[in-house]
Each structure stands twice: as C-alpha cells, then as structure tokens.
Symmetry: C2
Subunit: 452 residues, 2 copies
C-alpha cells in the first residue's frame, strides 16, 4: 500500500475529470423530466465500474429509475463487501442562489461546486477509485459488489423489491456506504446512527374558487389560516410534538450514552455564525447534538397558497398546501408514523375545509454497533489517514434504505462519510472539498486492507 | 325620460363594444410591468368622457398611476354630483383557472367574462353611458364631475394628496360610486357600510440558506413552522382575534340594529352550495351577515416558502413569507391597526428568527346615512327600475378611498352598486351580467332625475 498516496496524486486530475462527467448528468430523481438522465447516469456507472476493474456490471431496470450493479469476485471464500451509493440528486431550486451552474462543476477555493458534488456522486465515486487502485495494484483481498441506485432522494421506493428478489446476488459480510459527513476536516467521525424519515403532502381545500377577502372574509374558512393552525398545533411551547402516539416507540437513550455524546466537540458560536442565526431552537431538555441525533422532529419543508406576487391582492384563497417531514429515531416505525400523522391531520381538520394528506416516502432509523469487525476496520483506516481516531456520532440525516438493508439482507452497514457540514447538500452551492475527495479514496483503500 | 329604455336598447351593442375596448387594456395596478397600460386606460377614459359630452377631460399625473378627471358644468347654482370609479384591476392569477382570456371579454350565458367586467370597469362605465344619455337628450339638470383613478386595488395611495390639493375642483354635493354589489338580480340593495382594510407582508428569516432537514431539523428554527405558529396565534378557538388592542375601538352595533340586519334574506344552504363548502366558519356569537358586515377579520391572503415542486425535498427552508389582511369596522383607525399588527408580530417573533413586517396599504371603514337626499334619490331610482325598494346593507368589502373622501372633501358617498355575488370579482372568471350593466345605466339616469 506504500504507493497509495502517489497513485492518488498522479491520477488526481483524471479522477476529477471522470467525476465531473458523472456530475454533468442532471439526474434529479424527483422530477419526471429527468427520466432519461437517470438512464444516462446508470449507463455511465456501468462504464465506470468496468473501467475500474469489475468482472461484470449491468444496468438493471426497476419499476422506477434503473440501478447499476457490478462486482469482482476474487474467491468465494474471501470476505465480501457490498458498496452502496446513489446516482440521483436533489432538485436545484432556488436556482438563482447558485453562483455557478449546478450541473457544470467548478473548483473554487479547493472545493468542487455542483449539485451532487458531495451527495452522493462525489462520495460514491471515491469507492470506484479506491477499488481501481486495489485492482490495478493487485492488492484487493476481498470480493466487492457495487449497487448504485437512482431513487435515494425520493425514498428508494423500488430498491427493497430488488433486494428481496436478489438476496444471493447481494450477499455480503458488510455493506459500505459513503453518504454521511464528518465533524470537521480535522475531526474524523463515523456515523453510528441515522434518523428515519416520513414525508407527506397536505392539501387544505376551502371554497371552490378564490374569494374576495372583504365580501367573504370572516364568514368562510380561509385554508391558509386553517393550515397554519393545524401545523402550529403539532408542537407545544417546549417544541415537543403533540400528535398522540408520536413518541410511543421512541427509544430513550441512557444517561450514560448521553453523557458520552456530550463529550463530542460542539462550538455553539461557530455553529450559529455559520448559519447566520442569533439563537438555537429545539426541544426543551435536549442539547443540539441530541436534538438532531436522538430525537424525532417535525419540519414543514414547503408551504404555498393564495397570492405571492408583487404588492397586495385581497384574496381569500381556495386552497393551501404544505410538504411535511418528520425525522424518526429507533424504534419508531415509519409506516406506523405515516398512518398516525395522516390520520391525525385528517381527524383534526375542521368541517369548514377538506383536508387530504398524501404519504410520499419514508424509512426507519438505523444504529451501527461499534464492536463489529467492519466498524473497527473503518476506525483504523480513518486513524491511519487523519492521524486521530474517528468519533462515533449519531447523525440527524436519513438514508432510509440502510435500515431496509438490515431488514431484508440481514446485514449491517458501516457509514464511512467524508462530507462536511459546510458542503451545503440539498442547498444551493453544494460543494465538496477536493481534499476530502482524495482522502476519502485513501481511507476507503485502507478499509479494505484492514477488513481483509 | 320616456325614451331611456329605448335609447339603451338601441345603443346596447355600441355600449358593450366601447366597454370591451376599455377591458382589453390589462391595467393591473399591482404589477409594475403594466405601467404603460395604466396610461392607456387613463387616455381612453379621457376620450370616453369627451365623447359622452364632458366640457373638458384630462389625464392627470400623480406620484403613481395617472387618473382621469372630467366635468360638465351646466350652471354653478345647480347641484353637483362627483362620480368616482377606478380603471385599475386585480391580477389574474391563477391564470389557468380562467375559461377565456381575462383581457379578451367574451359573453357567455348573458354574462361578460373578463377581469374588470364588474370591478370596476363595467360598473364605472355605466356612469359614462347614463351621463351620455342625459346630455344627448338634454335632460341633465346637475353639474357632473368624474374622477376615475388607477390605484384603487393597491390602496389609492396617491389620490388623497390629489384631493387635498384640489378641494375646489372636486367640490360636490354628493359622491356617487358604483363599485359594490346587490343581494341578487331581483333583490336590489344599497350598500350603507364598507369595511376598512389594512394589508401587510410578513417575512420570516431563519438560517442564511436552505438546510438539510435531517442534519439540522430539530436544532434550527424552521421559518415556516414559526410563521405558522405566529399566524395561528392571531385567533383563538372562537375565531376571535387575539392581538392586544385590536378590538379597542370597534363600534358595537345595537341589538336593535342587529335585529334589523337579521331580517335581510340569507339562504345558508345556497350560500354554502355556491362556494362548495360543507360548513360556515367565523367568530362565535355572530351571524354570517354580521361576520362580514360589522366585525373585523384577519385573513392570510397568501403564503409561501421552501419547496413546492413535485415529490419530496427534505429541506429546512431559509425563509417564509405571507400576505396578511384585516378588514376593519367603524371606528377602527387603519393607521393605528397598521402599527399595532406590525409591532405585535415583530414583538412575538422568537429570537431564533428575524421577522420583518411591511405595511402595504389600508383605509378606514365607512357608513352612509339613509336619510340624506342623495341616498333617497338612489332609493327611488332602484325602486323605479327593479320594482321594489332597495335593502340597505353593510358590505364586507372595502373601498378605502370612500372614508378618505369624507375626511378630506367632507362629503358622503352613495354606493349604487350593481354587481352580484356570483360575479367572482378578484377571482378567476370574473363576470358581469349584461342585464345588470344595462339596468345600472337606467338606474343611474333615474338617480340624476330624482336628485336634481
């Protein structure tokens, strides 16, 4: 492995060029207009895997977007690593807040700026390049399987069925995923927990047309006022969620574990300054890391209705809408929560409006034990590259398919993320430091070394 | 006056053609892109007045949109009527809900469909045509002044200054306005009260960019959640507004007057069916007519923030906005309410977000006495044309300039409206029955006869 650093340095420009080719495909899975781009991305991944040294790779149809599977089986008696990543990305709006074209990657101040630069094109591509190094230098001592899907950002709807139908194909000793972040560029960390997710759209229908707010105001229920009330009632003055049954299955974290979490570095001032906010916010009785790590949440991701143009329009609108999401923790069941929230809103809707809640997607929370061999191999790899051992952290984010893998394939995942909080994933000007990209390749190569 | 009906019948097609020319100008005052259209409308009104028989007419600049003034002075010793109307219209969105082009009037089922067909192009144009009839048939026994403004839908911002500077020019014995509606095509009514209005835009600023709702959700205040809470808290479970001081100056209406109002015909089932709603809504302890007639209201006219596209985007948005309006009653002062509401929201804003409230426009409520000569002349005119005397009603709508006229010019207005509730003013598919248009011309001509 002594030539690893040199190999990465020599091939750095080619690695970036190849990644940029992938990023240029606007593979936004939530927008049906990009259906063809999902196929282009899947085909490119097939080529990437074959070029890196896979024995075989193929684009596989699902009921939704295609996925790419590839493998290199050295010896069936060796350990097998299943690498999971996703080729789809989030929408780019508000487009006007991007400094450069979201699908024309640009390096500024040592960072790659583009949609997908981190999440998850940049991160999943590191696996291809670590694999390439090991194959080309005859250092691979594991079997490797890759599954790169195209629906992660919309809830991995069709991957569970694929997993159920291909349990043998996907059989492995560990699942390896880079789709999370580290505490800071000098503070490596490994994500040991992910929150679950459930997502809905709510529609509040009032009168059959927009009305004059003077002639009808006060006598006809205003769908926006009603929606605001319904959303406001979801939490109390302690920012505790009030939907009956919502916390029933929430796993309480022991005082001991909370004390350990409290030792993770957290600079409140820097955190607030980065976000441009004067005060933090959250559920009473919990720290910021606990609020994102071990507690469920309720966020309105979008809201719209009535007049939003220039100046004043005195209208009592006919309809109001919102996109709602909750983040879930062990042992909440996202399907139970999906029904619970839908039923709750439809039940509390006053008779003066019609309320319809559509469940869009979700997944369960996940916890990775810190004593399994693969976790320990990852710990050593980070220590080797970053000089200090990684901190185990519970992330607030969700990768719903991770808990589904555990359920269907019976296999844990190790979350070797190299993103940074400043990468602005899901936001305008998403970026990924070139250094994290290169160190990620290096760390992943060392993982294989220690794991084998 | 015996040839009045015949004159209207003979000229009906020309009247409609002329009105359609006015309607075709998209004079949306709240959208700056239509600035030139405001001038086109003002110039056309000048031509209309001169063609109808005005001695003089001119387009007058203001700091905002121009207005048109015209007059015919027969004899300074005669009574003078000042006709007020507005040439500006509301925006047309949602555009896709219109059956025909909002600025290409179309007659279907005896109704003119177009933005402004009723409010207020159709209604103000009736005055031009009644005036034309009287002039051409040498029946005019009053002096007549016309003031047609271009900013009514955005709060008549520049008209008060014009009135203050031109008190002599606008001197009159009564102000006559057609910008309200009747109970039904067979139930004439005269509006004796108008609600006041105040309108704001509220902006809630959270983090400096859209955030990942998993990584930050639960720890950073979500501007939409906060806005929903602030809007929900504006009213209690009785739909009573909770902003301190809001009701302080509200004039209580006597039990006797409420009993009189309760005799106005109201078909709850028909009202609900027309609007497509299952239940009415409003402040406890008041009837529907009282809720719109004598009680103030708080309506959210628009709301937006975060993701509103297809599917799911798990974002904690940076900003949220709403357009807010209240309808006011005597003796609430719109300037006091404007500050009260602005201060209230800025004060209750939690420190985790920044809240900015911009006051957009407003005006006071108005009451017309039923014993003044002009009101009685109007009463006789409706009785003559519709066969039964008009019901005096308090409308929920607002024409802020009416109370301003009283304040500056010291003159009451008589509100001879011919709109119908089904005209969908401010909504898609605004319309105005041709019959109401023609009967309006007839009734206005009789008003001059009885008033002189």
């Amino acid at each position: 492995m002594e030539n690893l650093k040199a190999y990465i340095a020599e091939n750095q420009q080619r690695f970036l060029d190849e990644l940029f080719e992938l990023i240029r495909i606007p593979s936004i899975s939530s927008e049906s207009a990009h259906e063809a781009d999902m196929y282009r991305a899947a085909k490119l991944w097939k080529k990437i895997l074959l070029d890196c040294g896979a024995d075989r790779a193929e684009v596989i149809e699902t009921k939704g977007n295609p996925l790419t599977y590839g493998e290199k089986i050295i010896d069936p008696s060796f350990l097998t690593v299943l690498v999971y990543g996703h080729m789809d990305v989030m929408p780019v709006d508000p487009r006007e807040l991007w400094t450069s074209d979201p699908f024309e990657p640009e390096i500024r101040d040592g960072k790659i700026y583009a949609r997908g630069a981190d999440d998850d094109k940049g991160q999943s591509f590191m696996h291809a390049k670590a694999f390439e190094y090991l194959v080309k230098n005859d250092l691979l001592r594991c079997n490797v399987k890759f599954i790169i899907e195209g629906e992660e950002e919309v809830g991995s709807e069709n991957l569970p069925a694929f997993c159920r139908a291909n349990k043998d194909l996907l059989k492995a000793d560990i699942i390896l995923v880079s789709d999370t972040s580290m505490i800071g560029p000098d503070i490596p960390s490994l994500t040991t927990g992910l929150r679950g997710l459930a997502y809905w759209e709510i529609e509040v229908l009032g009168p059959n047309r927009d009305l004059h707010s003077g002639l009808f105001g006060g006598a006809v229920a205003n769908p926006i006022n009603i929606l605001a009330k319904m959303l406001a009632d979801v939490s109390d003055e302690n920012n505790h969620i009030t939907i009956p049954g919502f916390y029933d299955k929430v796993q309480d974290v022991s005082a001991e574990e909370r004390a350990k979490m409290a030792r993770a570095p957290f600079d409140e001032k820097a955190y607030k300054d980065t976000l441009g906010i004067a005060e933090l916010w959250g559920e009473s009785g919990y720290s910021t890391n606990e609020r994102t790590g071990i507690r469920p949440t309720f966020d309105v991701c979008g809201i719209w209705g009535g007049y939003s143009g220039e100046g004043a329009k005195t209208v009592l609108p006919s309809k109001a809408y919102a996109k709602l999401s909750t983040r879930l923790v062990p042992n909440q069941d996202y399907k139970e929560i999906a029904s619970l929230v839908k039923d709750y809103f439809e039940k509390i809707a006053p008779p003066s409006v019609k309320v319809k809640v559509s469940y869009l997607h979700g997944g369960n929370a996940y916890v990775c034990p810190v004593d399994i061999p693969a976790y320990k191999a990852a710990e050593k790899a980070y220590t080797k590259v970053y000089g200090i051992p990684p901190v185990p952290v519970r992330s607030g984010g969700s990768i719903p398919i991770i808990s589904t893998f555990e359920e269907i394939l019976g296999q844990k995942s190790v979350l070797m993320g190299f993103g940074l909080e400043s990468d602005a994933i899901h936001s305008p000007n998403e970026n990924y430091p070139v250094e994290q990209f290169l160190k990620g390749i290096e760390t992943i190569a060392w993982f294989y070394y220690y794991f084998a």
